[in-house]
């Protein structure tokens, strides 16, 4: 039995080790950014954007639509049909905070897990060594396109999700209950859509995307040989990814105060 205080140190060491590994991968990805101009790396980047971004659109559209409607109608009831307050809470809670988190969690669960298992499989089949022997830096071909692809995908999906959330959610609400669509939109736009907040949201989604890519790549590349290697890498990537996203969200919240 490990004494409690020693266990705490081990836990801290675990966080520190993983945190520094993820930061290393992020640094690697950005240092190898110029490699994205090479055709094979550019192709991996485009594939990543397609799989993480474009393929996610149908499911995220439906989620945004239903979430927009559910949140609007519930808040409208709780706020005793005060449209102005409903829109205000909807904007600050759902659009500014919740939407980005949902997108990030979705991409982590869907694409992050796929990336981690793909890289773990690459490692087990000796493909990373094969790339190295061909003189191709795995950071050029495997890490940079995936991290940048995730950043672009999550940023674009974040904007898309918010637009569907507001337009679709308000439209559905006006269809199913006493909800003045035009007035709600006016209130929403009036409440503060500044360039500063848009850039901050973009920065936030980019950081979430980069974290998803970094965690998935790190866990995939760290996979051990044997039948447990791929499932363990995938599971750890998803768990660490969620934790990293929540931690980053908290840092952004503190920064924005």
């Amino acid at each position: 039995m490990i004494p409690v205080h020693r266990r705490d140190w081990l836990l801290l060491g675990y966080f520190a080790e993983n945190g520094s590994a993820y930061l290393n991968i992020l640094a690697d990805a950005f240092l190898h950014f110029p490699a994205l101009l090479r055709p094979p790396c550019l192709r991996v980047l485009l594939k990543q954007v397609y799989f993480s971004g474009i393929e996610s659109l149908p499911f995220l559209s439906l989620t945004a639509l239903l979430l927009g409607f559910t949140a609007t109608s519930r808040l409208y009831q709780v706020m005793a049909k005060d449209l102005s307050r409903t829109v205000d809470v909807f904007r600050s809670m759902i659009v500014q905070e919740g939407a980005i988190l949902i997108v990030a969690f979705y991409v982590m669960a869907r694409s992050g897990s796929a990336m981690a298992s793909e890289l773990a499989s690459c490692k087990q089949h000796g493909e990373i060594a094969a790339l190295y022997r061909m003189g191709i830096d795995p950071a050029d071909y495997l890490i940079a396109p995936r991290v940048v692809g995730c950043m672009l995908s999550v940023s674009a999906l974040g904007v898309f999700f918010k637009v569907v959330l507001v337009l679709g959610g308000f439209a559905l609400a006006s269809f199913f209950m006493e909800w003045d669509y035009a007035l709600a939109m006016k209130e929403f736009l009036h409440g503060g859509l500044s360039l500063e907040s848009a850039l901050f949201a973009l920065l936030k989604t980019s950081v979430f995307g980069a974290l998803i890519g970094a965690v998935a790549c790190q866990q995939g590349l760290r996979a051990v040989r044997g039948p447990q290697g791929i499932p363990v890498a995938t599971r750890t990537a998803v768990v660490h990814g969620f934790a990293a996203i929540v931690l980053a969200a908290m840092v952004f919240f503190l920064l924005s105060k």
Partner: protein, 217 residues
Amino acid sequence: MKAIFQSKDLVVRDRRVPDLALDSGACGGWQIHDADFAIEVLDGVTGLQPAQGGGTCWFGQELSGLPESGILRLLARTMTLTPDGPLIANLNIRDNVLLPALHRRMDSETGLLRKLDRLLTGSDLPWPPAPDFPFLLPHHLGVLQRWLAGLLRAALAAPEIVMCCHYPGDLSAEEQQELVGGFQWLRNILPGSAWLFLTCEQGLPEGFSGSFAEVAP
């Protein structure tokens, strides 16, 4: 002529790899009886795994003193051939074959595709490619077709050294004979390249005039 590859007292898994120096156009190698050990020697030679002693010298540069980017630059002037290609599982054969040449920006994609097409339709190809060869995934191919993909990749990338890690495995005597023809075909395309064999069959590269040393089991 200047030696472009030298093993200098390299030790892998407690076994000493005999010293070897290769000039441009020369051929040499080590006779190795175990496929896993062949890969370990390859990893030691290319700096992928730290050797237990000694080192290797590429194009006049000691590998041990170089940063990773420097090693990769040297390795980009070489090409490894193994029974599995080595091919990337989620890329089709065409993309696999073009990968190193495209990454090194040796030519435009169109130019490289034209060269590949010329090679594939050439009458001197060592054995015919499978139907739809460029668009198949590696797991669709048999051993000899994988070797063909590796040979085509080397032909397009035009390396200065070809490192060939060969263990007959699934190949019949007839197929091995064809494989020797494949190596000869590649050597005709790359006349100036040096060949380094890690093989358990000394008889295989008889078509090549080379110096062989045995790594004691």
